[in-house]
Amino acid sequence: MSGDARLRRPLIREQTVATLLVLALIIVLVLIIALPLWSLLSKSLQNASGGYVGLANFATYFATPSMVSALFNSLGVALMTTLLVVPLAFAYAYALTRSRMPAKGVFMGIALLPIFAPSLLGAISLIYLFGNQGVLKGLLFGHSIYGPIGIVFAEVCYCFPHAVMIIATGLRLADGRLYEVAEALGTKPTRVFFTITLPGVRYAAISAAFVVFTLVITDFGIPKVIGGQFTVLATDAYKQIVGQQNFEMGAVVGLILLVPAVLAFFVDRQIQKRQVALLSARAVAYEPKPAPMRDALLLAFSSVIGLVLVAMLGMAIWASFIRYWPYNLSLTLAHYNFGEFEPGGWEPYLTSLAMAGCVATFGTGLVFLGAYLVEKTKVPMPLRSLAHFLAMLPMAVPGLVLGLGYVFFINAKSSPFGWLYGTLAVLVINTIAHFYTVGHITATTALKQIDGEFEAVSASLKVPFWTTFRRVTVPISMPAILDIAVYMFVNALTTISAVVFLYGPSTKLASISIIHMDESGATAPAAAMATCIVLTAIGAKTLHVVLDRLVFSRLQVWRKR
């Protein structure tokens, strides 16, 4: 048998390594996602001393008028925003996908702008425009911008990119042949719109509505800055936890916030299953025909919306350079001298950079490796399904809720992680967990496009899977990996809701510093700090685009035919 030396069993089998790695991944995901959520759930069923009280906390909650009013405020604001955003986003997405209006690329870019800013930036802009010193205050006819009006306006802008992206995707999935058939049958354009276009995009519209509703109901930054006396669930949770140390009530609010998000998650999954079936592999892409009237109308509409979005971002940036709004409009850099308004000076910005850098580095590594293990290894299906489920879970958990879960999980009496509280590490871990799902989906999609037999070929050549992962899978997936890294970086920079409960004296982030400066009346420095974040985020995205081109032209010659 000596001739079979090369068939000798190795010291440790690949299968064992893969199984151990998947188990490690599951443990990590349970620690950073499942257990914090469990802590939140169990906290809501306990009293202050940790005894089980069943649903007593919920009974107290619904018996307290101020709390119930916050719930109805939240529902009202979220519903109003949804009703406004979805039609606007539909028209805008329609202009982007179904017209021949010029400069579509520019309009797409403008629609995405709010993604690069913390949600509260829009609120700061609104204060400058419509606040007590606002130039356009008269347009409100005596109503105050501080309250539901301001919240809804700012939320509409904040949610706009998400709704546009979802609906535009739905519109792009159209089968051009349906329109050709309709035309051949002499169908009127309005009938085509109501019988083909609208039904085709209804799933996307429903999905967008749920996403927007969830974003609004769980957003913390905007109501904090512009809500005034108008309390909503998110600010109420903050008040309960940070202000009154009433952790049980905070947990109850957190669970209530979880309801719409979980609902949205399952509705979205159902919709995606149906959306896929809509488009067969043989469909032909829709090509809009020239229609000057339609294109002019859509261009006018998109220009108005685009102007509002640019103004919402630009106002705060401009205001950050103005000496004393609105009396002295001369330009200055004085508001960037953060040391005068904030004990940490520039420290929060640097902390944010460090945090976002760590999230992008470690988060992308974990997400991609995790997706690879789930998608490509031969580990028993139940284990991989469990890991996949855990990876999908954060999608249904608003940042605020996850942040609360972390507070309870880390600070629990029996917790061995108490020392983590307030460290950069916990901010990084929490943010990775918060944005895990989108990265996981991106990585999984990229991995699914790779030939499923690479691992089989490697095994036949007796090359272990980790060598193929390094030599083939990672280089091929580089564009997707960069996408994930930039997504994680930008979101880590702008996030507030999750980290607001977790930061410590030495780890205050820029987004939190904005809230503090705004609270103390230093609105211009708050705008200045927000500007730093926006510019950094946009800079990172620009760098990504440039890098992507470089990667494509230099490192990926093999893609060329």
């Binding site: 048998m1 069993r9 089989a456 070929v457 036949s460 050549l461 893609r559 060329k560 035919r561």
Partner: protein
């Protein structure tokens, strides 16, 4: 060096003759049974093809031999060693997939040398071996190109060279030619057959293309619904199909309903025909009688032959070099035959649609099968 296994197969004596031994192999996917009780012995150096319609289990069987999808039951032994539970890396095979699965970011040389690098061979040794392999498949001088820069046929050759790089004792081909144009496919058939013969590597090829299996394999394993319908040389499979499924799947055949009559005859539409049949078919049992289109005789038929049959040509389908004729027996519309007539024959005999002729169904060309339940 002892391999830490307790699994030399029971048939140790025949180890030299039998290179791959598959016993009682089965595979379930949930309630679906993809393989049922598969037995197969393959000799060293043999070229065996798994042939069958999609979903018949042929790919499942190949992947079980490779260890890529573990079987639910049964054993596989390669070269006398039980590998039933061994991972793919401990089985010593090269594999070529329908998609080729070439690494797009590596050059042709790196693709072919992929398995060699891991064997800790010297750089010079690897370079020489890669050059040798690429020369073998006729791709010298393409070393620094990337897969996307090659044609489908060239990519297929690279995949073959990569699979053979480590000199495996087993070569597995999973629908290797189905993604190629008809012309390239014909050329590659010969090339693969050539390389296989030269290296004497035991080879399994999965295909749904009967022509491919007939022209390339030494033995064909015809599969359907997870079971082996027949194992035999291409000629045996074609001339002597064991079941109506094999008869219909490989080549064209007319299957006519009849009744077994005596020891050496069948009755169809009230007429007696001479035909030999298997002993297990009882006298008087319902049967199906098969005859290949090219076996039907027309020239020089006098009508006195024992199996002569007056027919009418109801349809003539022009197919280039020959015509496919539909023949209906006179006075028995249930007896419909397909026959291939060469252009020569049509001209010589002046055959046309609607013509009445007498054909002979030679007794040695008639295959008698038990009637299927539904037939």
């Amino acid at each position: 060096m002892l391999l830490g296994i307790g699994g030399r197969m029971a048939g140790e004596a025949g180890a030299e003759a039998v290179f791959v031994a598959i016993r009682n192999l089965s595979k379930h996917f949930g309630a679906f049974q993809a393989l049922k009780d598969i037995h197969l012995d393959v000799k060293r150096g043999e070229f065996v093809s798994f042939l069958g319609p999609s979903g018949c289990g042929k790919t499942t069987l190949l992947r079980a031999i490779a260890g890529l999808d573990r079987q639910s039951g049964g054993t596989i032994a390669i070269n006398g060693r039980d590998v039933s539970n061994a991972p793919p890396s401990e089985r010593d095979f090269g594999i070529v997939f329908q998609s080729y699965a070439l690494f797009p970011n590596l050059t042709i040389a790196d693709n072919v040398g992929y398995g060699l690098v891991n064997q800790r061979r010297s750089k010079a040794e690897i370079t020489a071996r890669v050059a040798e392999l690429l020369a073998m498949v006729g791709l010298s001088g393409q070393l620094t190109k990337y897969p996307a820069q090659l044609s489908g046929g060239q990519q297929q050759r690279v995949a073959l060279a990569r699979a053979l790089a480590t000199s495996p004792s087993l070569l597995l081909l999973d629908e290797p030619l189905s993604a190629l144009d008809a012309q390239v496919r014909l050329r590659l058939r010969e090339e693969i057959r050539d390389v296989q013969r030269r290296l004497g590597v035991t080879t399994f090829m999965v295909t749904h293309d009967q022509e491919e299996a007939l022209s390339m394999a030494e033995r064909i394993v015809v599969m359907n619904h997870g079971v082996i319908e027949q194992i035999g040389t291409p000629e045996e499979i074609y001339r002597n199909p064991a079941t109506t499924f094999v008869a219909e799947f490989v080549g064209r055949i007319s299957l006519l309903p009849g009744v077994a009559h005596g020891i050496d005859a069948v009755e169809m539409a009230g007429r007696r025909f001479l035909a030999t049949r298997a002993a297990e078919i009882a006298d008087g049992a319902a049967v199906e009688v098969g005859i290949r289109p090219e076996a039907i005789r027309v020239r020089g038929v006098t009508g006195s032959e024992p199996n002569a049959l007056p027919v009418r040509i109801t349809d003539l389908e022009f197919l280039g070099a020959f015509c496919r004729a539909t023949l209906v027996a006179e006075g028995a519309p249930g007896l419909t035959l397909i026959a291939d007539f060469s252009a020569n024959l049509l001209r010589d005999l002046g055959l046309q649609q609607g013509a009445a002729i007498t054909v002979d169904l030679p007794a040695d060309a008639l295959r008698v099968f038990p009637a299927r339940a539904s037939a």
